[in-house]
């Protein structure tokens, strides 16, 4: 389980507690993205592995750290879950199961139910989201309703792919990673989950930001459409370089059991 966290001291403890109930055998890594509050200390005292970034890298950068951590340690699967408590860890085993063991990169998105009534969303934005979802569904060959969800499970090949290519750009990592994954021929599927209200902290999307975000996504899709063939091949050929032996230490704390239950 990889938990990217930035200033989530109000919710991190309960999220970690729920994770340990839902997946008792899983190794948990909190990537503390240069929080200024007690997030890292709380996570550390909960007994999970914590990596602290040396400056704020954004969710994308924090996740890339998580992917590299998992790739170096040769994990079978990785679940990404938000630290703000809106994702219920109880769905994590289901996400892992949905990965199944077919070869090639695969990822499963924990999507929120059509929640237009629970969460009031401006109409323009809802239409934009729908358009985006339709486009991504066509691109990935799977009906996606919540492409921006940060609740996801990845198999070994997807970990290796994203350890190298996970997009670090501000806010666009969730959608862009889907585009990269489908470009690399990954199997993408989605599982409906119930999202909760954020347990604590400020939502990272105001209306202005949402607009900025959507225009960024549109630009990104445009750039993807005009991308030269050679670059696409490069992503597709982005095979794991394997763990970096120079940086591995044979410490006793290295997990021997794989994460997948």
């Amino acid at each position: 389980m990889v938990v990217p966290a930035w200033n989530e001291e109000g919710s991190i403890a309960s999220v970690l507690c729920e994770i340990s109930h839902a997946l008792p055998t899983a190794d948990v890594l909190v990537v503390d993205d240069f929080s200024s509050d007690g997030t890292a200390a709380i996570a550390r005292s909960a007994g999970v592995d914590v990596i602290s970034n040396v400056f704020n890298l954004g969710v994308g950068g924090a996740m890339r750290v998580g992917f590299r951590y998992a790739a170096d340690r040769d994990y079978d699967a990785l679940v990404q879950i938000d630290a703000d408590g809106q994702h219920d860890p109880a769905y994590a085993p289901g996400l892992l199961e949905a990965l199944n063991s077919a070869p090639g990169p695969a990822l499963v998105i924990g999507a929120r139910f059509d929640s237009s009534e629970d969460f009031p969303v401006p109409r323009a934005r809802r239409w934009a989201m729908r358009l985006l979802a339709a486009y991504l569904s066509r691109l990935t060959g799977c009906r996606l309703t919540d492409a921006t969800s940060g609740y996801r499970a990845y198999n070994r090949d997807a970990i290796a792919l994203f350890a190298r290519t996970y997009p670090a750009d501000y806010l666009s990592d969730t959608v862009e990673s889907l585009i990269i994954a489908s470009g690399a021929g990954a199997r993408i599927s989605q599982l409906s989950t119930v999202m909760r209200e954020r347990a604590a902290g400020m939502p990272s999307q105001s209306r202005a930001r949402a607009l900025l975000y959507l225009s960024r996504v549109a630009l990104m899709l445009f750039l993807q459409a005009i991308q030269p063939r050679s670059a696409r091949r490069a992503t597709r050929a982005a095979r794991p370089a394997g763990p970096t032996p120079a940086f591995r230490r044979a410490t006793p704390d290295q997990p021997t059991a794989e994460e997948k239950p």
Partner: protein, 113 residues
């Protein structure tokens, strides 16, 4: 020598001297040195003899020589800006990768605080 000519000569001289001094102290990397020297040389020549530039402009059909100067300057700056944003993006990517590496290594040596 007119006052305008003197002003042009002096300011060009100052600009060229500044670039050369930065190059001499290695504050500008060699790969950029060629570019800036290539700009400085014609600047000096034209500052010494502005008529040369006027004749060049007329030769390629520009009626008002300062227009040619403006267009050339804008084009050059545009190219420099595009190159700089490419370079900046590359540096940003490398810095991020280094930061990720540092975070992972710091955890491995057990001083993650």
């Amino acid at each position: 020598m007119s006052g305008v000519h003197l002003t042009v000569l002096l300011s060009t001289g100052a600009a060229v001297a500044a670039v050369v001094e930065l190059l001499r102290r290695r504050h500008i990397r060699e790969k950029y040195a060629v570019v800036w020297l290539a700009v400085c040389l014609p600047m000096t020549v034209f500052a010494i003899d502005p008529n040369l530039f006027n004749r060049l402009a007329h030769a390629i059909g520009v009626i008002n020589p300062p227009d040619l100067l403006t267009v050339l300057a804008c084009l050059f700056l545009l190219v420099v800006c595009v190159y700089m944003s490419w370079e900046l993006g590359r540096l940003d990517d490398r810095t991020r990768r280094l930061a990720e590496e540092v975070a992972l290594l710091r955890r491995d040596v057990g001083s993650g605080h």
